[in-house]
Every structure is written in structure tokens, then in C-alpha cells.
């Protein structure tokens, strides 16, 4: 077993690589150095714009473009088999994926098929003792961190929470990396999951929002969520929510920010009446500026915040809306 592989699929905004790719390449580069192994970037399906140049900035030795007509869009059985064939041919020591919904299925299926060892929710990697891999991951909805030792001698597949990482391109990055076309044989793969109705994105996605105002139980009553929406509108942003109020039906699940909801990384995140549970903060810890508004000065959310207002959010929200509108 040899190299470190960063694997991505799909496109991000403007046809570029999907969200989290550069963060993953950064982690891949550092880990490859620690393991004294070469770094490859495997792209399943259509190649994103500027892939070769981006790869060059991250010290990628080769962009491995796995092409096949059946890889146009993510389908679990086809994708797992394509990546498994690539791995059987090139025997990477470590495969890294950014932890999307699809990756949460693909990574363990791949590991199962290859007899590899899998861990998800990773936020850090290091070479361990005796040829092991040391993985730091979040647990208990972000309330704790765990450090796992992954056994030596098996391949490793690791799902990475890229939303909490920062991309660090090389200052003296080489030019474009070479792109190698890799063929796979998917003729015998039967996709067992038949999509009847695709998800249709209705309007903008909260994952892509630059400004988010998110409300929690501190709003007191379902009808007060309206204030969160009004402030979001006044700021030109989107409204988000914590899981408890989504579970209670105050707003739509598509607004839920957190471990089991949406992972966001806006420029500005205003948490209103949100206590700061780990599982929520996982979904907004990547915000550049976090503002907390909470009645309880001891609320955990203040530990994450850049700015805080201690007070009743039902008094403060209308004032913020007023200030923003004038």
C-alpha cells in the first residue's frame, strides 16, 4: 500500500470543485507528508474547472480522473464500485473524502468492500505508532473529541468534517498537476436504488448563504421565529434554526443547522436564543464572524462567539431589524 488519495465528485459553484475540496487537499498534503507518501486527487465523474491548477497549488502528484458514462451523477452502487476498482488497482494506504451526505454512505461501503478500516467525523490526522493512523474526530454531537488509532496493515478510509478546516494552498505551489484518465468497468454493476423523484433545490441553499440569522428555543414561541426571518431579510441573508425548534415544527427542516442538519460557513452567523450545543455549533463553527444573542451570560454559545449581546432576544431582534432598515 502506498499513497494518500483525496477523493471528490460533483461540482461546486461555477463548475469548480465541490465545497471542502481545498480543505481536504490541505489535510491530504499534510498527512501524506507525515506518512512519507505521495498525494493523488481522485475525481469520480466530470472533472471540475481548474482541477489541474488547484491540484498544483496543493502539492498533488497526479489528478486521477475516473471517467465512465455512469458516473455523471452520484449513484451509490456505481460510485462505490468505481472507487473500489481504482483502489484495488492502486492500493492507497489512505482514502480521504469530505463528509457529505453521499460520502457518509460511500466511505463505509468502500471500506467494507476493500476490507479497509473506516472512521468518520475526522477533524485531524497524524501518523501513529507502529504504522497506525491516528484520527481525531468529534463525538457526542461535538461535545467531545475522540482520538482513534487505526490498525496498521489495512487500508484506511476516513470521512473528514471539512467545514471546520481551513484551506492552505502552498505559497510556492508548482504549476498544474498532470491529469491521468483512469478507466473502470462498471458494465456489471446494477444500481439497486432507483430514484423516483430527485431533490429539487427550492431557492437558495443555506449552505451557500453569506449571512445567516439562526433562532433557537430562546425565542420562546413558534410565532417569534418570524423575527429571525425579518432580520435575515434585512441583512440580505437567510434564516436558520436549531434542531429543537425544527423538531417541534417551528420552521422547516431545511433550515436546521448542525451535525444532522446543514453545515454552513457564512461570513456572518447570528445565533439568537441558541444555547450553543455542540451538535449545533458543528454546523456554524466555520463562520468567519459569529454573533451570539442570549439571555444567559453563561450560555456555551458565547464561548464560540466574536461578539455577544446578553439580553432578551425578543427585545433585541426588533431593534436590530430597525437599525438595519434605517
Amino acid at each position: 500500500m502506498t499513497g494518500v488519495v483525496v477523493c471528490t465528485w460533483g461540482m461546486g459553484r461555477g463548475g469548480g470543485p465541490p465545497t471542502g475540496t481545498e480543505e481536504l487537499l490541505t489535510l491530504g498534503r499534510k498527512t501524506a507528508r507525515a506518512l512519507d507518501a505521495p498525494l493523488a486527487w481522485v475525481v469520480l465523474g466530470p472533472l471540475p474547472n481548474d482541477a489541474a491548477a488547484i491540484a498544483g497549488r496543493h502539492g498533488v502528484a497526479s489528478v486521477e480522473h475516473v471517467t465512465d458514462g455512469r458516473l455523471e451523477r452520484f449513484e451509490a452502487d456505481v460510485y462505490v464500485e468505481a472507487l473500489a476498482q481504482y483502489c484495488r488497482a492502486s492500493s492507497p494506504r489512505l482514502v480521504l473524502v469530505s463528509q457529505t451526505h453521499d460520502a457518509r454512505l460511500l466511505a463505509p461501503r468502500l471500506a467494507g468492500r476493500l476490507g479497509a478500516t473506516v472512521v468518520m467525523n475526522a477533524i485531524g490526522l497524524a501518523a501513529g505508532e507502529g504504522g497506525r493512523l491516528q484520527v481525531t474526530a468529534s463525538a457526542y454531537g461535538g461535545d467531545t473529541r475522540v482520538v482513534y488509532d487505526l490498525a496498521a496493515g489495512t487500508g484506511w478510509v476516513v470521512g473528514v468534517a471539512t467545514s471546520v478546516l481551513v484551506p492552505e494552498p502552498l505559497a510556492d505551489g508548482a504549476g498544474a498537476a498532470p491529469v491521468r484518465e483512469v478507466a473502470v468497468d462498471l458494465a456489471s454493476v446494477k444500481e439497486r436504488i432507483r430514484v423516483i423523484a430527485r431533490a429539487v433545490t427550492e431557492g437558495p441553499r443555506i449552505e451557500d448563504a453569506d449571512i445567516i440569522v439562526a433562532g433557537g428555543r430562546g425565542l420562546g414561541a413558534p410565532e417569534n421565529f418570524r423575527l429571525v426571518q425579518e432580520l435575515a431579510d434585512a441583512l440580505g441573508g437567510m434564516a436558520g434554526a436549531s434542531r429543537p425548534i425544527v423538531d417541534e415544527g417551528w420552521t422547516d427542516p431545511s433550515r436546521q443547522v448542525g451535525l444532522t442538519g446543514r453545515i454552513t460557513r457564512p461570513a456572518l452567523y447570528i445565533a439568537v436564543g441558541i444555547s450553543g450545543a455542540g451538535q449545533h455549533m458543528v454546523g456554524c463553527a466555520g463562520a468567519k464572524t459569529l454573533v451570539a444573542i442570549n439571555r444567559d451570560p453563561e450560555a456555551a454559545v458565547f464561548r464560540y462567539a466574536r461578539y455577544g449581546i446578553v439580553g432578551d432576544c425578543l427585545e433585541i431582534l426588533p431593534e436590530l431589524i430597525r437599525v438595519m432598515r434605517t
Partner: protein
């Protein structure tokens, strides 16, 4: 023909209690450096797994001829979670006793898959989308490989549409997606399914008489249970805590100051 539904359930430390300790800054890791020590934290069934049972009960209520078996690996002695499953309406409860600290999720998937095979197979395997302790969520997919079953993840609802076919509505970042899959299949259930029910008094009474079928792990013929993933350490993350509190005599004043700061920082347009 009756479908055998298997629901996999894990016992976890109550995540709400863990979270309350964490929010108060009082969460403690034991001398072994690995486990949470507060003995006052109750052990409960993973809430997503409870929703797996709820999904099974809804299928039965919708008219699917089925039996519901709830199985748990490594549940502590005296655990109430299988009793709870029986009280909710499980026809059979199964315990595979093993010291949970000695195996990893690969071992758990191997034990569950071997037990499913040796106990007559399953038409449908339901699991919670992840466990609320380690949040890994990999056991269903690992079982899918071992049992050669398709795995449909993060379901908000599922329905039998006849001829061994299931229709599943999945939660995705782009909205709901509807898929169909042929049984046998594995489906993972998310909280969007809605609140699981409470046991009825009659259910609780009936559950008292129900005994778990105990399946010793060594009878399942799993060659290797040595963990590939070993928990070395657990810790409570330090949060940077550089919050600047914006004060004001009134809500209006504090709001104006906050907006002024965000504009000065260039976060908001002036």
C-alpha cells in the same frame, strides 16, 4: 408472506444529559482518559434507533404483514432498552452480549450480519442514521457490504409498495428525494421521521413477560473481532472564548453598537 423486519438498537449515554454537562463546562473524562465518568448520566436507547422501531411499527400499522425483531450488541447487563423495545411492540428481542469496549464498529457489523444470516435472514433491516455517542453511522453500510444488501440512508418515511418493494423518502441537503429499493434492504432512519411513540400500559405489561433471546457472540462464527479502530483518548474540546460583549443601556443602544462594530469590521456593508 410475512416480512421479517430487524431493527438494530444501541445503548448510549443520554446525549441530552451529556450535553447539559458540556454546556455547564462540567463534563468529565475518567482516569482511563477515554470514557465519560458521570454516573448520573442515564443509559438509554439511541434515539435514532428508537425511530427505527417507530418506522417498523408504522409499516405494520399500514398493513404490512411482518414480524419485528429488535437486536442489540454489547448492551450492559440489566439494560432496559430491549424491554423498552418489547413494550413498544417488538415481537422478538435479541441480545448479543459482549464487552462493548473490546470491539469496534467493524466487529459490531460482523456480529449483526452473522446473526441476521444465522437467524433466518431479514427482509428489511432498519437502523438509526447514527449513534448519538460516537456519531459514526457506519454500521449500516458495513452490514450492507457483508449481507450484500442495498443501503438507503437518512429516511424520513418509508412505505411498502408491494412485491417486496419499499419506497423511501430521503432527507438530502437539496431537499427530499424519493427512491425505491427491492428487499432485502437496509434503511437508516433520521429524526425527520417524527417523534417516536411511548409504550402503552398494555405494552409494558406484555413486555414484562418477554425474555430476550441471548446469542453468545462465539456461536456466530465471526473469525476476527479484534478492533481495527481503537479509542485511544477522549477529551472535552477547549473553545477559544474570545467573545466581546456588546453592552448598552437599552436594547436599541446595544443593537446600534453591534451593527456599528460589524460595519467597522467590514462584515456588514456600511
Amino acid at each position: 408472506m410475512s416480512v421479517r423486519i430487524v431493527v438494530c438498537a444501541k445503548e448510549v449515554l443520554d446525549p441530552d444529559a451529556v450535553n447539559n454537562y458540556a454546556l455547564e463546562g462540567r463534563l468529565e473524562i475518567g482516569a482511563d482518559g477515554r470514557t465519560l465518568t458521570q454516573t448520573s448520566i442515564p443509559r438509554v436507547m439511541n434515539a435514532y434507533d428508537e425511530q427505527g422501531i417507530e418506522a417498523a411499527l408504522r409499516l405494520r400499522e399500514a398493513g404490512l404483514a411482518c414480524t419485528i425483531t429488535v437486536v442489540s450488541v454489547g448492551t450492559a447487563d440489566g439494560s432496559e432498552i430491549l424491554k423498552h423495545a418489547a413494550a413498544l411492540g417488538a415481537d422478538e428481542i435479541v441480545s448479543i452480549p459482549i464487552d462493548a469496549s473490546t470491539i469496534d464498529h467493524h466487529g459490531i457489523a460482523r456480529l449483526l450480519a452473522a446473526w441476521v444470516r444465522s437467524s433466518g435472514g431479514a427482509g428489511l433491516v432498519l437502523c438509526g442514521r447514527q449513534a448519538s455517542d460516537d456519531d459514526q453511522g457506519v454500521v449500516p453500510a458495513l452490514m450492507g457490504e457483508l449481507l450484500d444488501m442495498p443501503v438507503v440512508t437518512v429516511a424520513r418515511s418509508l412505505a411498502s409498495i408491494g412485491e417486496g418493494e419499499m419506497r423511501v423518502v430521503r432527507v438530502t441537503p437539496d431537499g427530499d428525494e424519493t427512491v425505491e429499493v427491492s428487499c432485502p434492504a437496509i434503511v437508516t432512519i433520521s429524526n425527520e421521521l417524527g417523534q417516536p411513540r411511548y409504550p402503552t400500559m398494555a405494552g409494558r405489561m406484555a413486555a414484562r413477560k418477554k425474555r430476550a433471546t441471548v446469542v453468545p457472540p462465539e456461536t456466530l462464527g465471526v473469525a476476527d473481532l479484534r478492533p481495527q479502530v481503537m479509542l485511544a483518548r477522549q477529551f472535552v474540546p477547549a473553545v477559544k472564548g474570545a467573545c466581546e460583549v456588546i453592552a448598552g443601556a437599552t436594547a436599541a443602544e446595544a443593537s446600534e453598537r453591534l451593527v456599528a462594530r460589524l460595519r467597522a469590521d467590514g462584515v456588514l456593508r456600511a
